[in-house]
Amino acid sequence: MTAQKQHRAGGFVLTGNHLYGGHVIYLGRDSRVTRSLSEAAVFVAAEDAEQAFTRTRAAEQTVGAYAAEVTYGDEGIIPVSLKEQIRQKGPSLALPAARQRRR
């Protein structure tokens, strides 16, 4: 499940949920929030990510912000924990609506 052994060392991204939309967001390299992990700023240490975040206006739009560990793989930035992988990609099961459409 976890990828930390197979890949080179990574770092930390700052993530949380959007205040209005509730969707997953990351602190981007341009200091704005982004929905795409590939655009997220990667920091060496968790504290760096948290400090950089509090200095941005992104903080006002974010709920429950925290630093999450990431690594680099073939697809770019990859979350280390299963929870963060699910937050990034959505539930690991087929959604009922999707099943219905396929029929």
Binding site: M1, L82, K83
Partner: protein, 563 residues
């Protein structure tokens, strides 16, 4: 069903207006997230992994077709076309935006529904027997007391900021279908020898990190004293319950620390203070509510022998045997509609399915629907003469899965696929297990078996009271599943015992197979159920089979795959 009056409707509208203003103040920065969070939680709004989640109350699990259609509309308009029925008879929408919540609450209020107190550190939506009013042998319909409890607890100024959440369940039957022993307060209603209704009150039951069975506070309380008594319990809990540690804040820990005798003494003092100083219970309100819950007019139904219908169709016969229960009126039956189609997430229903259920309730069940804590749907009053017709329509809609009470009728919390608290996934485990039973066609042979899965220690999937309980944990970043055996949430309540070390996701299915194989080999005959067999033979044979050799787990997986 309870009929909303102007007071109820005005109250709902006020709460919606209040919430709109709170959202605006949050957006304006007047309220911090820390201040806003308890307010949104008391309106049923969580922030989960992917979005906000709105938990809609279905008080005591009862709703009508109009309400069900409105839930379908919300699912389509504001969610992704489905909802999730929970183990507390609620419905959760998983993909909600904060900006939409006030509009959703307005749509719900149109049909006398809401999301009030489905979350937060307050008295939560009250649950009861999903067969209430339909099953024989009840002291009275427990929904009458449940509705009184809803009114007593809704917006109660003293109990909106408790140490922790507070769950109450009511039952009025010898058969405990409401798991009353595992609630902060469990109320068991019974007929008083002297006439009227009496209440047995249990306190401090619960699952989670520290599972406890409810302890008896009083064996017999006159119903007119119930609310002063509950006020006394709440006052003691609110003042003395621990607030220093989230995991020790439930009333079960306070009862542990005080001891039940000391707790009873404190509560009795508070109770008598109220009884002496405050006005008595409003019996006229109860009479009005009781009238709302009187049975539908059954006069058009006539006796019907199902044997002929069953002889004509083996699939109908199987459905009747598994999903249909006796009604207290011999012309009717109680029908359970399984939301556990093999391979589907337990408790999920699409908007289309909700509308089909609504249509069927209107056509076959006097417009009444129930949600069970087992995450299934009940049509409580179906004339026997129309059962075959109902079955045909359920089958056409793919809703005739005949597995109620069987191994694939699995309870599962949303788990790590949705929930911010979860440590492991639970829905995929339930899906894989159900598909496996379907493939092996052994469910009927196994007989009654309750498998319950939680994705974290908080135990929303009730794993402690599963005959087979599965608890998903995070072990160094990898999902790991502990198994408990012998739990029971019924009137023979008991907590499951852990088999031993947990299993990886890859080995879990084989471990469940092993447990079932031990049962099938050990039972005295088909009439000895899994739980009865477990009680007779104990944990040892199961443990032996699960952990007998160092590589038993891996070997068994290889063998099972090969078979």
């Amino acid at each position: 069903m309870y009929q909303y009056d102007n007071f109820d409707r005005t109250y709902l509208q006020q709460r919606i207006d209040e919430f709109k203003a709170q959202v605006q103040r949050r957006i304006d920065g007047v309220l911090s997230e820390e201040e806003f969070k308890p307010l949104r939680l008391q309106n049923g709004l969580y922030l989960q992994l992917h979005a906000y989640m709105l938990r809609v109350a279905i008080p005591y699990g009862t709703l009508n077709s109009r309400q069900m259609r409105q839930l379908a509309l919300v699912a389509e308009r504001y969610d992704r076309g489905y909802g999730h029925f929970t183990t507390r008879q609620n419905l959760q929408f998983n993909w909600i935006k904060l900006d939409d919540v006030a509009d959703i609450l307005s749509l719900l209020a149109e049909v006398d529904m809401h999301a009030i107190q489905t979350s937060g550190n307050c008295i939560r939506n009250v649950t009861t027997d999903h067969f209430a009013g339909a099953a024989a042998g009840e002291a009275e319909d427990p929904r009458i007391t449940a509705e009184l409890l809803r009114q007593w607890s809704t917006g109660h100024p003293e109990y909106a900021f408790l140490p922790r959440k507070f769950k109450i369940a009511v039952s009025a039957s010898d058969k405990d279908r409401a798991v009353t022993a595992f609630h902060d307060i469990g109320i068991q209603l019974m007929k008083s020898p002297a006439g009227g209704i009496g209440c047995r009150v249990l306190v401090g039951g619960g699952l989670g990190r520290t599972p406890r069975m409810g302890r008896e506070l009083t064996s017999h309380l006159p119903e007119g004293d119930l609310f002063h008594y509950l006020d006394a319990v709440m006052s003691v809990y609110n003042r003395l319950g621990r607030r220093d540690n989230k995991y020790k804040a439930r009333i079960k820990i306070l009862i542990d620390e005080l001891g039940i005798d000391k707790a009873r003494e404190l509560i009795d003092t508070e109770f008598h203070l109220r009884k002496d100083r405050l006005p008595g219970f409003n019996r006229a309100l109860k009479a009005k509510i009781a009238a709302d819950f009187s049975l539908p007019d059954f006069s058009s139904a006539h006796p019907h022998d199902l044997a002929h219908d069953m002889a004509l169709s083996p699939s109908f016969a199987a459905f009747v045997r598994q999903n249909v229960c006796a009604h207290k009126d011999s012309r009717h039956a109680i029908v359970s509609v399984s939301l556990k189609q093999h391979g589907c997430p337990p408790g999920d229903a699409t908007a289309r399915q909700m509308r089909i259920i609504a249509d069927l309730a209107a056509d076959y069940s006097y417009d009444e629907i129930r949600i069970s804590h087992q995450q299934n749907i009940i049509l409580p009053h179906v004339p026997k003469s129309q059962l075959a017709s109902l079955f045909a329509r359920l089958a056409t809609a793919g809703l005739a899965t005949a597995n109620i009470g069987l191994a694939s009728d699995i309870i599962a919390c949303p788990g790590l696929d949705y929930c911010a608290l979860a440590t492991a996934r639970s829905i995929p485990v339930a899906q894989q297990l159900a598909l496996r039973f379907q493939k092996r066609k052994n469910e009927q042979d196994i007989g009654p078996l309750q498998i319950k899965i939680s994705g974290c220690i908080n135990a929303c999937g009730h794993h402690h009271v599963g005959h087979i309980g599965i608890l998903g944990l995070d072990r160094a970043g990898v999902e790991n599943y502990q198994i408990t055996l012998g739990g029971d949430g019924s009137e023979q309540a008991g907590l499951g015992e852990r088999t031993g070390p947990g299993f990886s996701a890859g080995h879990l299915l084989a471990a469940v197979d092993t447990i079932i194989d031990v049962y099938l080999e050990s039972r005295t005959g088909r009439e000895e159920t899994f739980i009865a067999c477990y009680r007779r033979i104990g944990m040892a044979p199961f443990r032996q089979a699960l952990y007998s050799t160092p590589n038993a787990d891996a070997d068994r997986v290889a063998a099972k795959i090969a078979s």
